[in-house]
Amino acid sequence: MKKLLTIFIFVLLLSMTVNSVTAMEITFWTHEDPNRTEIEDRYIAEFEQANPGVTIKRVTSGSGQIQELILTAFAANQGPDIFNMSIEDEYAYIANERLAPLDFQAAGYPSLQAVYDAYIPGVLDPVTYKGQLYGLPLELTNWCIFINKKVFRDAGLDPEKDYPKTWEEMVEVSDKLCIREGEILNRRGFDFRYPYYLVAMVPMVEQLGGQLISDDGKTAIVNDEAWLKFLKFMQEWGPSGRNLGSPTYTNARKLFNMDNNDIGMCNTGLYQVGRINADNPAFYESKEWMIVPFPVFEDAVKDVPAAYYGHYYMVNGQKSKENQQMAWKFVAYMLSHSEEYLTKVNIVQPTVELMSSETYKSMPYSDVFTNDMAKGHIVYYGENSAKIQSHVREAVESVMLAGISPEDALKTLKRKVQEVLDEE
């Protein structure tokens, strides 16, 4: 009996040792996107086959929840090997040195410069910190205006000619498209992409000559006149003004795909095309939708479209060196399929090769996004970008919903954002 027990313990210990030597698990957390899940599950299977002993565990969460999950995990030093979020949420991880710099050899590049050369200029700047590169872009996204042509025709408008080119036209067109039952909007013409104020609304202020933060990074909310005009515009848009929309209605982007005659236009990215196809193939095939550029104020001093933002795949710096290398190898493997990401998921990986390919150029309306992106800039990112965004949100909501004057809202906004800058 004693002998049997000894042999059993020996075999058990041996198997544990063997497993620990050859098994490597890479945890990969990302946001939900059914189209991307389909292709990345296949990449995982292919990578595991090519790298025996490596297991990739992919976990998805809602895009509204993943920031909290990743933050909580890293705070407990239990973060995943690989994750992605939008750069304004990711930057704090770079600034707090929680990430592993890119291992360009593991990723298959001959040098770090070769990595920069593979991407269009500027897109890797947000993830470059103290001379090291901390991420590779899963997608670079900007937003334009999606239009439901049927809604336009229903209101007696020609979508090809009457689509709004300025924000002033957006007000008038939206008003014509609205169907109201008293104060209640049963159909909105357009509504903003609340609560992404840094991406979709700060550029409106920049069109008028304002800035969120001064160029030297020291002063908050620059050019009161521009900010006041923007806040007055939003006040007019809301329930106490022309009543064209409100943050309390269902998000316009979520309604657009369903083609239920409850929204005429929304502000979203190229990925929406793939989602229209997935959610409502009949609407997609009908081609009763189109995409136009981000509007500009009539008296704009700058032609600034919606800011673009990037989701970057990043690697946890607290994992072992071996895990980090394998993680970068896997990230690079996934990102080597940029054409498939574009055709199946409608997300753009800003490599030189893809942006100059026929596949990209032949995507419907890719030129609209490309032209706007060329004029735009990356969304504001910093260690406290989430807090600054919430202050901008508070200012907009206070004028739209709480009856606060734009002047008072601006005063509060300046004080709060300046306090954030001063604390950094």
């Binding site: 920031q67 909290e68 909580t72 890293f74 705070a75 707090n96 039952e181 919903l401």
Partner: protein, 303 residues
């Protein structure tokens, strides 16, 4: 002498068994309640960022003095006090009324109990999502109210107006928890001996006199229990306000302390400051509980 020794050893035996049964709970509470409280108190004395790997800076009471001077914090206090008073008082009153109503029914008592209690079994998240749909401008909230008041097309701005959004959160909380406290009152009412009511009937007391002079005084321990639990729950409210703000409602009117703690920790990464706020909330809760115990003198009840 031997009698005293014998009774002492029986007491010790009883006490030993008592300790054996109580110890697992004590360990559980120490691990999951006392330790986090002391940890929060310790963390509140530091300037600590959630993602930083650097050792935090000891700043003493600076987090507390910042909060006491912060308009944002005082707005959260206002939002919490308004929510608590606006919810806890109706909860107390109506749960008692519903309990008396149910106990007075000869039939369908179980049905009413289930009907009132069922919202309490829903998770707060599910409840908030349901009410978000109701409070949508095109939702049932506007439709029902406009039908009842004959005001077609009026948007009552359930989530948009700063006063309405506060009332909406109170309404959701009340709907969710009134059944729970009704059941507690039902248990309290059932524990009052019927002989007292019979004696009162013989003396000529009517229903109102029974309620005012017998039921209410004898229900004091239950009333105190309900008032303390409901008040503490109201002070800790979070899910409804969080989900409403995620759904587009303005933050400032319903930025209760727990929501402010969450944003300070998770959005702003300021875990030291968030810990200080949670300690302040803890002190407030303990203070209110002590005041309620002191003013109620629950141990005076006897039949």
């Amino acid at each position: 002498m031997s009698k005293r020794i014998s009774s002492y050893s029986i007491e010790r035996k009883k006490a030993r068994w008592g300790w054996i049964f109580v110890t697992p709970t004590l360990i559980f509470f120490s691990l999951f309640s006392f330790y986090p409280i002391f940890n929060a108190l310790y963390t509140s004395l530091f300037k600590k960022k959630l993602l930083s790997l650097k050792p935090p800076d000891f700043i003493g009471l600076d987090n507390y003095s910042y909060l006491l001077e912060s308009p944002d914090f005082w707005n959260s206090m206002r939002a919490t006090v308004v929510f608590t008073l606006g919810t806890f008082v109706p909860l107390l009153i109506f749960s008692l009324i519903f309990a008396v109503f149910i106990m007075s029914r000869k039939r369908f008592q179980n049905f009413f109990q289930i009907a009132y209690y069922s919202p309490a079994v829903l998770s707060s998240v599910v409840a908030a999502v349901i009410w978000l749909l109701i409070f949508d401008p095109r939702g049932l909230g506007n439709q029902w109210l406009n039908l009842m008041m004959n005001t077609p097309g009026i948007d009552h701005k359930w989530l948009a107006h700063s006063v309405m959004v506060q009332m909406s959160t109170m309404l959701v909380y009340f709907w969710k928890y009134v059944g729970y406290f009704t059941i507690i009152f039902i248990v309290g009412l059932a524990s009052i001996p019927q002989s007292i009511y019979e004696a009162a009937k013989i003396d000529g007391a009517n229903d109102w006199k029974n309620f005012w002079y017998i039921t209410l005084p004898l229900l004091k321990p239950t009333t105190i229990l309900v008032s303390i639990i409901s008040m503490l729950q109201c002070l800790r409210t979070f899910s409804t306000q969080y989900l409403f703000t995620q759904g587009g409602a303005p933050l400032a009117p319903i930025n209760v302390i727990t929501l402010n703690i969450y944003h300070t920790a998770i959005r702003d990464h300021q875990i030291g400051r968030a810990s200080a706020m949670s300690i302040i909330l803890f002190v407030i809760m303990m203070l209110f509980t002590w005041v309620q115990f002191k003013t109620s003198r629950a141990d005076e009840i006897s039949y």
